[in-house]
Point group: C2
Amino acid sequence: MLRYTPPVDDMAFALFDVFDAEAEWARLPAFADMDEAVAKAVLAEAGKLAAETLLPSYQSSDAEGARWRDGEVVAPAGFRAAFDGLVKGGWLGVSGNPHHGGQGLPKMLTVLVEEMFWAANTNLYLYGALTTGAAICIDAHADAALKRRYLPRLYSGEWTGAMALTEPHAGTDLGLIRTRAEPLADGTYAITGNKIFITSGEHDLADNIVHLVLAKLPDAPPGSRGISLFLVPKYRPSDDAADGPDAAGSVRNGFVSRSIEHKMGIRGSATSAIEYDAAVGHLVGEPNRGLACMFTMMNHARVSVGIQGLGLAELGYQNAAAYARERPQGRAPSGPRDQNAEADSILVHPDVRRMLLAQRAFTEGGRAFAAYVGLLLDRAEHTADEVERDAAQVAADLLTPVAKAFLTDRAMDCALLAQQTFGGHGYIAEHGMEQIVRDVRISQIYEGTNGVQALDFTARKVLRDRGQALRRLLNDLRGETVPDEFRAPLHAALDATERAAERIATAARADPAAPGAASVEFLELAGLAIYAWLWARMAQVVTKADAAQRARHEGKLDVARFFYAKLLPKTVALECAIQAGAAPVMALPEELF
Amino acid sequence: MLRYTPPVDDMAFALFDVFDAEAEWARLPAFADMDEAVAKAVLAEAGKLAAETLLPSYQSSDAEGARWRDGEVVAPAGFRAAFDGLVKGGWLGVSGNPHHGGQGLPKMLTVLVEEMFWAANTNLYLYGALTTGAAICIDAHADAALKRRYLPRLYSGEWTGAMALTEPHAGTDLGLIRTRAEPLADGTYAITGNKIFITSGEHDLADNIVHLVLAKLPDAPPGSRGISLFLVPKYRPSDDAADGPDAAGSVRNGFVSRSIEHKMGIRGSATSAIEYDAAVGHLVGEPNRGLACMFTMMNHARVSVGIQGLGLAELGYQNAAAYARERPQGRAPSGPRDQNAEADSILVHPDVRRMLLAQRAFTEGGRAFAAYVGLLLDRAEHTADEVERDAAQVAADLLTPVAKAFLTDRAMDCALLAQQTFGGHGYIAEHGMEQIVRDVRISQIYEGTNGVQALDFTARKVLRDRGQALRRLLNDLRGETVPDEFRAPLHAALDATERAAERIATAARADPAAPGAASVEFLELAGLAIYAWLWARMAQVVTKADAAQRARHEGKLDVARFFYAKLLPKTVALECAIQAGAAPVMALPEELF
């Protein structure tokens, strides 16, 4: 049985010691009511829900899976009660707009709340997580009537959300979609087409499901400039006409789940193929600007998926560490540690420590990174000063693909190390470690594969503004006061990132393949450099703390040193691979693959 | 549906172009009958069996799984016919001792035969692979009567083999086992105890199953010096008494499968918990020397598991490359490639090429590595000159843990890249890519985890002889003539490996934790250096070839350059991490994990 202890102390460390969240919130009127005590109460309450209500059905939901029958989808046993816990606590509206019933908590805090939900039951939380994203998109782009009608019931969790983008022949390349939207007389649209991979597109945990669907208007321009976004509810509420209640009352809309997928993991989450047959939808945002609207949702979802990885990595670490403490096997290299036992615990073996420390370095570093990205998102939304606000938005945009890809790639590394710590027992279903690996794997694929994230980071976020946003970030990080022992390697990593960006920019002028040939390595390099900054910052906090505080954060300095000694050196290899340019990637003729 | 084309041309390249197998065989009287034509016929025949007979039940066996009922185990549908193909072709005896009915083919060739069987149906071949290992152990250590009685029927595949080592509380640390062996009056032993994780320990594909079981004699010394090895057949044949046929005829021996495991992958393979209740066994080898005898089997199995990884990586690559050629999505960075289509195939994207090329670099490099290890094993067994034979054995021993761990770690990387190439479709069961990931994962865990391999390599194979065997190998590789462009980076990788070995040896004198704190990085560094040598050697072959030969091996030079530009630089990071020593790994107090 998997165990999970919500890491609320480490979350408070990230919020209040690593970043001065209270000072941050004091500067933003939207968070006037927030302070350390409130935040800690929120974390404690979310943690309690995660460990006590969400966790128990996580493993059983994998064995049972979601079930499909005649268009209806039944969620696994125990999910109704667990979902009710999310709903009753108001957890699906924590970051929502207070004008429509949301709680408006800082994202810096809610990313950590999400970490615990993803950790304790990724399968279950998938039914809720897309609700938050759909609400953000509606809040940003829909008209006032739609907001009034839909937001309160999404924030409350009475209804849930789904995003319908992919079609069988169109995944990354959404310009190819064929779903059509025909204007109707009352200002709504008839949506017709087939979508696949729709997470929570159909299920029995909520009274209504609100789909945000990409479709093409008649005579839309070809490609991605001809895509519009529509809100398509499973049940049309009685007030769902453009100009007030229609006669029909709450009626079933014209779409149905044709099947659900059999997947490697997240098996308790139902992934539907949906057929829309003249389903009634409302345009969200401007015609043909649907992709931009959808990106509001997607950017949120990308950060959230990064946090999903983080949560699962933490779950894996906790169970691997417990196993390592409890499993006797072999003896310490320096001789028997426990003379009275037949064997020492495997925690005495250096390589077991290496595996656990790598997980610690990435989960604790990842938690600080998540808080930092949340902080940037809060500043981007709520800072009064426009210049400062824009700068925060640019930084958040820059780091969104890094948060998605670096957090999930490292989460996969961590999950594999956690499984490996169990030896043969890690391969057996009952221990749950193999489930974590299977479940975390999707986070590298959906919401844009990590290869797509890397190209977004490299081409859109770095090259397009000639590296300005990245340089600004790197200069900020260079200005940080850190313990002496970390200064030189930190600056080396930051400098390597800047050199790599310049190298890619130069190469791109001669060869359009250059960014894509280096993008994955470049994102990983940037991620490691940012974690080097975060670990140096954490080390500085601990070094400067008084004795009492220091005792609380014992171990941070050791993990920081492990990160610098064992993980950061990869930056050197990544820079070499980037400097090699596009030729080694592009030379092999296509017919020889 | 997964596709598989046996890579027989590339295998012939490894055997006859990269290594001059014909000259090698001409020097060894045991292989007097072998030549290129015979070897190619063997490869073609094995490939045909793999693709036509083994492959079709691979995916269905995962969905169906092996089934247990009242101690009986039923293999998945289609496995009987597929196994019969292995048996009828004599494939389980290809490397067996000709004096007892084996075919005695060179291991250099049979490792490549095995690659195809592992690739086409890992689940099925697991019922056969342990047979070969059991036979090798019996041939090396059992008495003449046991050899006569058991070897012919193992080589024919009429009977299969299994190894029973692990107990619930004793995995890596076999010194802890509790299974007992009581001497009986007729010279046999009564074996009693519980074993777990017994691959093919019970199934319905063969008439008999021959277990090699580790157990302790009465008054055996404690720990690993008190372990003996016993041959315990499921059915005792009528001639199974020490001094001729006994009265009982063929009788069921006293052990039973208590259950089979529910696993992440290799679900068509039955992994039993076996209870031995005074089962009759024969001592193999000397009393209390069982672990050494078992290592004869284990060393073979470790190479074979490495090849399992290689085979699955090849299966993944072939399907990923096919998908990349066929899936239209997006446009080439330089503009539309196919003007008439809506989109170009994803093969135009540099990052897709990167993923595929990394797989190519490791599978083709791995194939050459497998052939090289096979060559060393052949020399170690058959070379007349004793000094030369011993040198080959030392080199084979040195490289066995590298073959097991480096081949399987890279296979996991490759399988994940192959799955990633499919995007969201890679996560869906029907495409089979996620099955490859789940199946390859076990290869990093069983037959000694890859962490155990790394410690074996570092402490036993390198430090114990003060680095002599490693230095001899590195000096051999340094002597190789390679194209100019690869010389400096090849020598840098070889030198880095030697420096790392020296650093670990120095550190180990002061700190017994030093080898384990660096071992995983050290094995990976050595593996990359060896692949650098192999790729340089392959590049040299192609460069020196005449035009006709060159056309056959088109692309090798491009893949070599990719390996050097994109993958080899990791050696720099690994050396840094090794140079950091044990302190970063050992500093965190145990109670803080």
